[in-house]
Every structure is written in C-alpha cells, then in structure tokens.
C-alpha cells in the first residue's frame, strides 16, 4: 500500500495532472474568497466554500479518471495484482494518494479564515469545521471517481461517467423535490430502489438466490407496511432520499454553522462503501 501510495503521489506531481488540479481548485476558491469575503464583506469563509462546490464536478473527474482506468489500459494492474499487496491495499494506496493531492489546496485555503481575522471579526471554528466538511465531501466525490475509473478501461468514459454522477449529486435536492408525494408513488419508487439494490447485490455476489430472497422479503415488507398504514408512505420516497442528500450535510456546516456529526458520519460511511465497492469491482473482474 505504501509503495503504491508513494508512486501515485509522485506520478501526480511528475505529470501536469496534480499541479493543474491544485492550481485550479486554489484559484477558484481564491476568486470566491475575494468576491464574497474580501470585497463582499461576508465574515464567513464557509459562504465562499458553499458557492465554489460546483467546481468539484469539473475537477474531480480530471483527477480521478486516470487512476485505475490507466492502470488497466497499460496492463500495469497485472504488476499490482500479482504482487504480494492485497487488492484493498492497492485501492487504499491510490485513494490516499488522491486525497493527498486534494489536501494541498485545502491546506492553502486554511489561510483564508486567518486573512479574514486580520481584517476584522472571523468565526474560526465555524470556518475550519466547514473546511473539514468540504474536504470530506470532496473525499466522497473522489471515491466516486475512483470507483467509476475502476469500472472502465477508458479515461474518457471514466471522466464523463464521474461528471454525470457528480452532476446528479449536485442537483440531488432539486430532483428529490420532483418525486411523487403520494403514497402509491412512494411505494413504486421504493420498489424501484429495492430492485436496483438487488441487481447490485446480484452483480457483486453472483448468487441470484440470495438476491431473489432479498427482493421477495423486501417487497413483502414494503407491501405489508403499505397495507397496515399507507399514510406513512405519503412523501416517504422524497424523505428517504432527502436524508442521503450529499450536499445537505455540508450545507448545515457552511450555512447553519452546525457541527453536523451525523452528516460527517454519512460522508465517512459513503467513502467506506465506495472503497469497498471499488475493491469488489476489481475482485469480480478476476472471476469473469
């Protein structure tokens, strides 16, 4: 893991990729910092961060597209996967290298609250908590990029796929608002979700009996609850999906200045889940 981490970090800084990412993120954070805090007079650095979120959609795919897709394309994954390192070690090494590159602009932006402090009142705790949440959110998005990159051999497909998913996440709250609020609508929506989960389970475990049982039990539970109390289902779909809104947690940090522990935990568990899925994708490829 350490060897892969070192090699990846070195490769990011030997090629343009790492520098371009760092420069672009720093410049955009800087522009919003200047516009909101320095010229606009807003004392919270977190406001600038909240407005610069969209830049992840462009920069994260550029950073992550190369990782696993390129390894596979140039067959260097054969070296990594036939070495004594475990698959988890390989993925973690790569992920930590990505986080290291991402940490550089984040460390630079840690100066911004201090600059505000020099010029008047600053809310250091709230701002640093927001930077922390911003880093976690970025880490989730990088994990998504890594997963997509592991799915394909083509860097372009990896970049476009990651961009598309990040765009969906960015629009998540808005899209959830369009979901049907009726009880039947929620039931159908939850069914679709259940089927998607079972398909994913089937793809990962290659064991269709388990997936089928999960589907049947899940369906029985959904219908059972529906018959008992269908008022519960009113707007349930939107509520459930709303809970998973990836931006909501960051917004409670940045806009409401709350240290949202459950939100931070959501990010960490999403990262763990995505890393797990990436490892499974690599393991699974050996069996196909």
């Amino acid at each position: 893991m350490k060897a892969i981490y070192k090699r990846e970090v070195q490769s990011f800084f030997n090629s343009m990729m790492g520098w371009v990412f760092i420069a672009a993120l720093t410049v955009f954070i800087g522009i919003y910092f200047m516009a909101y805090n320095l010229l606009g007079g807003v004392p919270y650095f977190s406001t600038a961060l909240a407005n610069v979120l969209f830049i992840f959609m462009v920069l994260v795919p550029i950073l992550t597209m190369r990782t696993m897709a390129e390894e596979r394309h140039s067959k260097t994954d054969q070296l990594l996967l036939t070495s004594p390192a475990t698959v988890t070690g390989v993925i973690l090494g790569m992920y930590l290298a990505l986080l290291t590159v991402f940490a550089v602009p984040m460390l630079l932006s840690c100066l911004c609250p201090l600059i505000i402090k020099l010029n008047g009142t600053a809310f250091l705790l709230a701002d640093y908590a927001s930077i922390f949440a911003f880093f976690l959110l970025g880490a989730v998005e990088i994990a998504i990029g890594l997963l997509i990159s592991a799915l394909t051999e083509s860097q372009i497909i990896a970049a476009v796929g990651t961009f598309f998913i990040l765009l969906m996440l960015y629009l998540w709250d808005g899209l959830v608002g369009y979901l049907p609020a009726t009880a039947v609508g929620s039931l159908v929506g939850l069914f679709v979700l259940l089927i998607i989960i079972c398909l994913l389970l089937n793809a990962l475990s290659n064991n269709w009996t388990i997936s089928l049982y999960t589907l049947l039990i899940g369906a029985a539970a959904l219908i059972g609850f529906y018959i008992r109390n269908n008022a519960l289902y009113k707007g349930l779909m939107a509520k459930v999906l709303g809970k998973f809104s990836p931006l909501a947690a960051f917004k409670s940090f940045a806009n409401d200045h709350v240290f949202d522990i459950s939100g931070a935990l959501l990010y960490v568990s999403l990262i763990a889940l995505l890393i797990f899925l990436t490892v499974q994708v690599l393991q699974k490829r050996r069996w196909n």
């Binding site: 350490k2 090629s15 140039s74």
Partner: protein, 341 residues
C-alpha cells in the same frame, strides 16, 4: 513446486482453459507450448493470481493462490505478455517501486536492484525514462522486474518477443543462469525457443492438456517406429526382391542413386529391423544404414496441435499416396488422443 489441478477458465460458453492439470517440480525450466490462443497466457494469469479460475486450484509451494494469495505471490516473479511498465518513471525509480511493492527488506533493496540491473544489462539505462526506451530495453526492464527479489518461481510470458537475435541469446543465457536456483516457467508459440532452453514441455491446445514430457521423450513417443529408412548397396530390383520376401512389410518406396546404393522407405506392421538385417545378410547385400524415422519436435508440435486431426491425416495421405502413410497418420492421431486422457 507448483501444482495445477483440474484448472478450468470459462468465458460464457467458451473454455479458455479446459481441465488442465500438471505439476512443475523445483528447478525445472518448464515450457508452455501451444499455438496462439491455446490458453497459455490465461493459464499463467491464473497461476499468478491475476485471474481467478472457474474451477480447479493452483498450489504454489503449498499455498493455494486464492486462499493464501500473499504467501503464494511472494514466491512468484511474473513477466506478463506486455511488460507492466510506468512510462513516466525512470528505470531506477521503477525498480525501486517494484522492490517496495514486493516487500523486500529495506536494507537489501539497493543491492538486489543493482544485481538485477547487471543481470539484464541495463546499467546504462538506469536514469532514462521508461517511455524513451526501445522495445527490447522495455522487455528487459520487465524481466528485471520479474526476477527482482529472486523469488523461487519465475513465470515469463513470451519473454523474447520483440528482442533482436543477440538479445534473445542473452535472455536464454539468463534463463539458464536463473534455473540453477529457481524454477522457471516460460511460454512461447515458437518451438526453437522452447527447445533451446526448456527441460520440460507442456503442450496445450484449445486450453486442453495435450502432452507433457521432456523434449527428447516427446520426440521419441511420436516417432514412427514402424517406418524405417534404409540405405543398401545394390540395385532396386535386388532390394525389392528381398523386401517382398519379408513378411510384415506393408509397402516401400525405392530410390536408386548413382553411387550404386539404394535408399528405401519401408513401412511394416511390426518391428522388422532384425529380420531385415538377416534377409540382407543372407542375400549378401550390404545394409549401410537402418534408421527409424524420427519425428522432430516441430512435427510433434504440429501433429499434436493440429486443429482438425482427420483433415490433417487426409492431407498427409494426399501428399504421399501411400496406404501406410495414412495408417501411420492414423496411429499418431490415436496416440495424441491417448495423451489427452
């Protein structure tokens, strides 16, 4: 020691490897031989743990490659078909990375790296970026990577592809050198390559086991014992008369030469060498040479890996319009069928 037991790799309905079993003993130079697409690379990928088998198991030095991958992989150095190189690293950086990846003890790393660099003659290239190296040098860096740390088992997938003849000889020497202390497994579809270095050959076709033995035994097993080449002093009439008097001769072809000798190809149902000797001795015709027709490894290979065995036999019959030739072809076919089992 490597044990491969009943290995199957299936892609949909296509069997890339089909119930393959063999054992590689310590210290052997073991060659995989088969036409393109025979399943050599797939088998190697499974042996090194890059791919998982559909069925069957691979046991490396007592460690199952799927159950104890880390232990098993520590014993293996692998050069895939395409050397796994990072173009943006220098040769030295790359080898340092591989040394760390293979978890060599820190204090031994530099020493080991300089050893493999001198073995693969990369001394002048250590500070060059890999992307600027020629194909031959890239192959050598791949080879250096595989032997780094001197694992017990070294698996090389077509190690001499893309090398010039001088480099090919160097690589062969290197393989022989390595075989003193290591088990070396290599694959090739080029016969002379395998013949030159290997002491054991596994022939596969369509992922199936065809034969596995030393090159000499393979040649011997496939030789047509009942086909003899004779050289006799005399005329064709005399020789023909003697041959016809012998029981067991099914057919013969005779060629007279200007120096008063006749060469004959004799096909028989059984071993008639002694009877031949006495018959010619009784007729006072000097028998200058009796030679069983030996199949060269090339012929063995072509015969064993022939896709359409029946059409192959028909082709052989066409070329030599001789009933015996057809018979021997059929016998060979039978033999290769036996070795499947």
């Amino acid at each position: 020691m490597i044990e491969v037991k009943n290995l199957v790799k299936r892609y949909g309905n296509h069997y890339a490897v089909d119930h393959l079993s063999f054992t590689v003993e310590d210290g052997q130079i073991f060659g995989f031989l088969g036409p393109n697409g025979a399943g050599k690379t797939t088998t190697m990928s499974i042996m090194t743990g890059y791919l998982a088998a559909t069925e069957g198991e691979v046991i490396i030095e007592g460690h199952n490659i799927l159950e104890e991958p880390e232990e098993a992989k520590k014993c293996i150095g692998y050069l895939p078909e395409l050397p796994p190189l990072y173009p943006d690293m220098t040769v030295a950086e790359y080898l340092r990375f591989v040394a760390e990846l293979k978890r060599l003890p820190r204090e031994e790393r530099e020493n080991q790296i300089s050893k493999v660099i001198s073995l693969t003659h990369l001394e002048d290239m250590t500070n060059r970026l890999i992307k600027n190296l020629s194909k031959g040098y890239k192959q050598r860096v791949g080879l250096a990577q595989a032997i780094l740390g001197f694992p017990k088992i070294i698996i090389l997938d077509e190690p001499t592809v893309g090398l010039d003849p001088k480099q090919v000889v160097e690589v062969r020497d290197l393989i022989r050198h390595l075989s003193k202390e290591h088990t070396v497994i290599l694959s090739s579809h080029i016969l002379s390559e395998i013949r030159a270095v290997c002491d054991h050959i596994l022939i596969i076709r369509h992922g199936k086991f065809v034969a596995c033995d030393t090159p000499e035994k393979l040649e011997e097993a496939m030789s047509a014992h009942n086909a003899l080449d004779l050289q006799v002093r005399g005329t064709t009439e005399e020789v023909e008369k003697i041959l016809l008097s012998l029981t067991g001769v099914t057919s013969h072809t005779l060629t007279a030469h200007e120096d008063g000798t006749v060469t004959a190809q004799v096909f028989s149902v059984s071993d008639i060498r002694e009877a031949l000797f006495f018959a010619f001795a009784d007729a006072r015709r000097p028998l200058l040479e009796i030679k069983p027709q030996m199949a060269s490894l090339e012929e063995v290979f072509l015969d064993l890996t022939d896709d359409t065995a029946s059409s192959g036999a028909a082709l052989a019959a066409e070329e030599t319009p001789d009933p015996a030739a057809e018979e021997t072809a059929a016998e060979k076919e039978e033999h290769s069928d036996e070795s499947h089992l």
